[in-house]
Homo-oligomer: 449 residues x 3
C-alpha cells in the first residue's frame, strides 16, 4: 500500500483547492462540543466518507468527567434601545461566548461590561471564548466595537438552549489485515475557525478517503472527529478495553497555515510514530521542528494520559497558542492555504506509507556483498559515483539482518524512507531479501510507561 | 521539611552578614591538619551546633596512611642580627611553612634561601605552603619582602612542636526517620584562608543549624569538619562498615567568593545528588557550571575512591586552583562576601529540600486527565495561557505513574523542583495522588562501581 | 609490546623517505585484480616481509561471486595511419581500460569514440577506469589528447589476454600468545596510483615489519594484500570458519596525501578498534575526523557484511572519491608525501600499542587513595599543580575497579592512552595494581549484529 503513489497521480494544486473548498463549506457552521453544529459538520464529512455517528447522553460518566448538557443556539445579539442590532451572531458566530446560557434583558452598559470579551492588542479581531463547564453568558467583539459602546441601556439576547441531550462524535473504521490500529483524531468543536481546526478535519477526511481506496492495508485505521477534550475522553471511556490496539496515532490540528511543520512527540518519546513523522518531515522539503511531549495541547493529552500512554503524537504547522490569529476571527479561510493543506495531506500519507511498509528483512546472502552487477542492480545509471538508488540497496543489504527495520536503515543512512523501501522491494524481487511480512511495529512496541 | 521556607523568613542580607562574621571570628587561628588550631576552630563551631569532637592518636593506621604527629606552633620569625623581626608569624600565620619542624639558628642568606617560598607573579602576596609528610622547615613571604633581604646572617626561629598526639575532627549527627544519611563534609585545616575553606565551614555550620530546627527529617544528617585528606581518610577508616549509609553527600569548599557556582559530580556521575544539585543550580538565578568527576580535588577523592564509590559531589563557587588568590594571603576576608555566602547556603538548603521531598507518586485517576476545573485546580489565575502552577499540576499528573520521581518530572518539564513539589502537595490534598512516602533515593541508589 | 618505542628510535623523516621510496619502486607496475602485475607487487613486498602468496583458480565460487579470468597485458596503443603512436600504454598504464579484452583493428574516429574515457573538468589528467565483470575494451586519455584527434582512421591495439588462470593475494601471519587476531588489510590491485593505494601497501608492509620485530605479542597479526572486493571476498570465503578470530581490524587506504586523517568506524560503531583509533587520533597532533560506517567504500564492506560483522574500520587521510586526484593520473608519487606516510605509520603503531596494552586492572588499595607520597609517586616534578603524570596515576587508581579498561580511563580522563598505560605500569610495579593479564578486548567483544 502506497498512498503517495495514489496521491501523486493527481495535481497537488488541485488537491489543495479541493481541501480548501471543503473547509469553506464547513466554515460558517456554529460548532460547539455538543449540539447541532457538530452534527451538521459530521453530516458534511459523511458526504465524503461513510462516517458512523455516535451519540452519548448528557450525564453519562466518562472517567472523571460527565457528558455535559447539549447546547444549541438560534440567535444572539446586542441591540440599541431603538432595536438596531449592533452585534449580531448571524454576522459571526464567534460573537457569542460559546456555551452561553440563554439570556434576554435590557441592561445598562456597566452591567453588560463583565460579559464582554475583546482583544485590545488586535482591535479589529473578535476573540473566541468558551465557558463549557461554568454556566454563564457573554459576547465577544472587536475592541473597536467595544469602544463605540455608549453609556446607555442595551438589549441583550442569547437564544440558546442548554438541556439534556447528547454528545455527538464521528468515527470511521477501516479494517486491515491486522487488528492493530492507526488512529487519526481531530477536534471538530470549534466554530468559524479555519486553521484550528477545519484544517485538521479536511486533511483527516481526505486521508481517510485515500486509505479507503487501498485494498491491501496491513493496519486497521480509525478516524475520529470528536469534540475536544470531552470527546476524546468519551471515546476512550467507551473503548477502554480496545484502546491498546492503537499502535500508532496522530492528532491533527492547525495544519493549514503558512508556517513550517511542528510535530509534538508522544509521551513515550521514541515510539515508531515519533520516528516515522520525524523521518517523513526530514525529507519533506519544508521547514519543520520536533517538539518534546508536554501534558498540555490537544487530545494527545488524553491518549497519552498515564493509564493509556498510547503512542499518539500531534502534527501541526504553527503551534496552537503561538500565533496571534489563534482563537480569533483572524483564523479565517484566508489564513489557511490550499498548498499548505495539500502539503500536510502529503506528509500524513507519507507517514501512513512508512508505517505500512516498515518491515524487517533478512539478507539471503549475508556473507560478503552479493554481486549486484550480474543482476543489473548496481550503478544502474553508470558513472563514477554511486547514486541514491545503489546506495540505498547497499544499506538495505548490509542492515537487513533481521534486527533493523527499514525505518532504522533510513535513519542510519540518512536516505528517505521511500528510497529504502524501494530498494527493499527491488532486492526482494531479486531474491536477495526475505521478509516474514510482519510489520516492524509489531515486534517492538510493547505498552510502556 | 522545607529549609527554604525557614531560611526565607529571614533577611538574606542579614544571614550573609552573620556567616561572614563567623568566618571573621575563625580567620586568625593558625589551623593545620592536627593541633590546637583545629581544636579551637571546632570549639567555636561547637558554639553554634553541638559538635562531637573525635581524637585519634598519632600512629593509628588508617587504610594506607598513618595518623601523623601532632603539630603545634607558638611563634616563628626571621630577624636581623640586631634582633629586629623582619618576618613575623604573629603578623600572618601563612609566613610559616605549615607543619615546619622546630628550628632556631643564625644562618647566612644563601643557606636560608632554599627554605623561603614566594610568588614572583604576585609580588605582594604571601603563598600558603605545607609539608605534612616530609619533615622540613620553611617560611613563606611576599616576593617584595624577599627582594629586600641582604646578603647577611639571619636569625631564624620556628618555635613548633611535632610530637605524638592526636588528630582531631568534629562530627555532628542528626537522626531522621531513616538511617540513610546525607553527608556534608568540609576541610577545617587551612590557616588564615577565607574562601578555602572558612566559607565551607560557616555554610556547613549554618546549614546544620537549619536542619536541626526541623523535626520532620526523613534522612539522617551527618556534618563533618575534618582536616583535608587525612581527616576524611581517618573518618572513613573508623566508619568503614557504615559508610554505605551515605545516600547523598556534598563536599563544600571555596563557596564564598564572587564567582558563579561549580558543581563537580560524584564518581557515579548520575547519582541523585548530582541531579539534585544540577536542578537547584538551574533555577538559582546565578551562573553555574556542572563539572565531570575527576580523581583530584578535595575530600570527594576519598569518598569516591573505588572501594567506597559514595555518591558525594563537591560544591564550589570558583574552582580551587583556578583563581590567583587560591592558597595565598589574598584569599582573605575581603575575598569572600556576605551575599555569596548566603546564596551558597540557599543552594545547599534547596538541595536538602529536594532530597527530602523527592518522592514517587501515583496518579489516582490515570485514565484521561482528571477534571481539574471542578476542583478549582485549573488556571487558578484565569486568562488564556496556562501558567506555571497549572502546568506543573499537569506534568505531575501525567508522569506520576509510580516510575517517575518528582525530580524526574522537574527535569523533564523544565520547571523548578519547588513548583513540581508544590503541585504534588496540592494534588495529594485533592486526593488525586497517592504516595507510599518512600523517598525516591531509596529505590534506586544501589551501591555501584 | 610497544611499537612506538621502537619506531621513535628512528628519525621519522628517514622512515618517511623509506616508505616513499618503496612506493616509488611499486609505482610503475601495471596491477589489476589478477595477473602478473599483482604477482610482481607481492614479490616486492615479499622482499620486506615473508609474505605467503595464495593462488585461487579462475572459476572458483566465492560466496555470491566467481573468481574471474586472469588478465595480463603486454602492450596497448592507438596509432595514426602512419604508425606513429599517439597513445602508448608504455607511457602510462592508466591509458588502457583495466581488464580490457584484446583488440587489434583500424577504425574511424566515430567508432573509436565510445571506447575513449576522459575527464573534461581536468583536461590534463588521465582517468583510471576498469571493466572487470563486463568484457569490453577501451582507452583512457587526457581531454586535451582527445581534442587533438582528427576525423580519420586509427589503429587500436590492446595486446592483452583474458584467460583461465589465478587470482593472487598475499598474506602474512604473525602468531601471538592469543589466537585472537588483529587484521590489517589493503587492496593491491590499482596500477600507477600512489595514494590509492600504494600508500596503504607500504604503510601496512612496514607496520608488519615493526610488529614482527616484537617477541612479546599478545595478539596474532594478519596482514592481507589483496585485490579489492574480489580479493577480500575470496579470502573470507577461504577463511569463513576462522574469520571470527578477528578481534580488531583496519583497512588502510589513501593514507599518504597531505590531508588530515579520516577514520570510518566499523559497522558495530563502538568496537574497541573504533574507540582505539579515535583515541590515538585525538592525541596525534594532526586534524582528524571520525566517520560513521556506511556500506560503501573499500574492503571494510566485505568484512562488515552482516554475516561476518567483523570489527573492522577503515583508516584514510583524504577520503576516497572526495579529492579530484582520486582515480586519475594526478594521484602520482608527488601526491603522497614522506612525512604523511610516516605519520600514518605512527598512528597505526599507536593503535597496535593501545590494543596490546588495553587491560583491566584492580586497585589493590581501593579504600581511599593510597599514599603515593611515601612511594615517591606523587607530584614527582614538584610545584603546586599536579602534572599529567600524577594525574594519570590518580585516574588509573580511581577507575581500576576491574570494570574499566585503560582505554575507558583514557577516554574519561581526556589523557593520552600512553600516559594512562605508563601510569598503570608504574603503579603495578609499586604493587598498587593487579592485572589478570587478560586483554580488555577479550571480555567484551562478542560477535554482534
Amino acid at each position: 500500500m502506497r498512498l503517495l503513489n495514489e496521491l501523486d497521480k493527481d495535481d497537488l494544486t488541485k488537491v489543495g483547492r479541493t481541501l480548501h473548498s471543503f473547509a469553506a463549506e464547513l466554515y460558517p457552521i456554529c460548532r460547539s462540543i455538543t449540539g447541532n453544529g457538530i452534527r451538521q459538520t459530521l453530516a458534511l464529512i459523511g458526504n465524503q466518507i461513510p462516517l458512523q455517528t455516535v451519540e452519548v447522553p448528557t450525564g453519562t460518566p466518562v472517567f472523571d468527567w460527565t457528558v455535559p448538557k447539549e447546547w444549541n443556539i438560534r440567535d444572539a445579539y446586542i441591540s440599541k434601545p431603538n432595536g438596531k442590532r449592533i452585534l449580531d451572531f448571524r454576522d459571526c458566530n464567534l460573537h457569542v461566548l460559546n456555551y452561553s446560557s440563554p439570556v434576554h434583558a435590557t441592561i445598562p452598559l456597566n452591567e453588560l461590561r463583565p460579559h464582554l470579551f475583546t482583544l485590545p492588542q488586535y482591535p479589529e479581531w473578535v476573540p473566541y471564548r468558551t465557558s463549557y463547564y461554568q454556566e454563564t453568558w457573554g459576547f465577544c467583539l472587536s475592541d473597536n466595537q467595544m469602544l463605540n459602546l455608549k453609556n446607555e441601556d442595551y438589549e441583550v439576547c442569547i437564544d440558546s438552549t442548554l438541556e439534556d441531550g447528547q454528545l455527538t462524535y464521528g468515527e470511521y473504521y477501516l479494517p486491515g489485515r491486522s487488528a492493530d490500529e492507526v488512529l487519526v483524531s481531530c477536534h471538530a468543536c470549534h466554530p468559524s475557525l479555519a486553521n484550528d481546526n477545519l484544517s485538521g478535519l479536511v486533511v483527516a477526511a481526505y486521508l481517510a478517503k485515500l486509505v479507503a481506496q487501498q485494498q491491501n492495508r496491513h493496519y486497521s485505521y480509525r478516524f475520529l472527529f470528536v469534540p475536544g477534550t470531552i470527546g476524546a475522553i468519551t471515546w476512550l471511556a467507551k473503548n477502554r478495553e480496545n484502546a491498546g490496539r492503537v499502535r500508532h496515532g496522530l492528532v491533527l490540528t492547525c495544519i493549514g497555515d503558512a508556517g513550517g511543520f511542528h510535530y509534538k512527540k508522544s509521551r513515550r518519546g521514541n515510539a515508531e510514530i515519533d520516528r516515522a513523522v520525524a523521518q517523513v518531515l526530514r525529507h519533506c522539503g519544508e521547514p519543520h521542528e520536533i517538539l518534546e511531549f508536554s501534558p498540555y495541547g490537544y487530545d494527545e493529552r488524553q491518549f497519552c494520559s498515564p493509564g493509556f500512554n498510547l503512542p499518539v503524537g500531534c502534527l501541526m504547522r504553527s503551534v496552537w497558542g503561538s500565533f496571534p490569529e489563534y482563537h480569533t476571527s483572524a483564523d479565517n479561510l484566508d489564513f489557511i492555504r490550499p498548498e499548505q493543506l495539500a502539503g500536510s495531506l502529503r506528509v500524513c500519507a507519507g507517514v501512513v506509507d512508512l508505517l505500512e511498509n516498515n518491515r524487517r528483512y533478512c539478507n539471503q546472502i549475508p556473507y560478503c556483498e552479493p554481486q549486484l552487477g550480474k543482476r543489473n542492480l548496481y550503478r544502474s545509471t553508470g558513472g563514477d559515483a554511486i547514486g541514491t538508488e545503489t546506495s540505498a540497496r547497499l544499506w538495505v543489504l548490509n542492515f537487513s539482518d533481521g534486527e533493523h527495520s527499514l525505518l532504522d536503515i533510513a535513519e542510519r543512512s540518512g536516505l528517505p524512507f521511500a528510497a529504502i523501501s524501494d530498494a527493499a522491494e527491488v532486492l526482494s524481487l531479486a531474491g536477495l531479501l526475505s521478509c516474514n511480512h510482519a510489520i516492524a511495529g509489531e515486534h517492538r512496541n510493547h505498552r510502556q510507561f
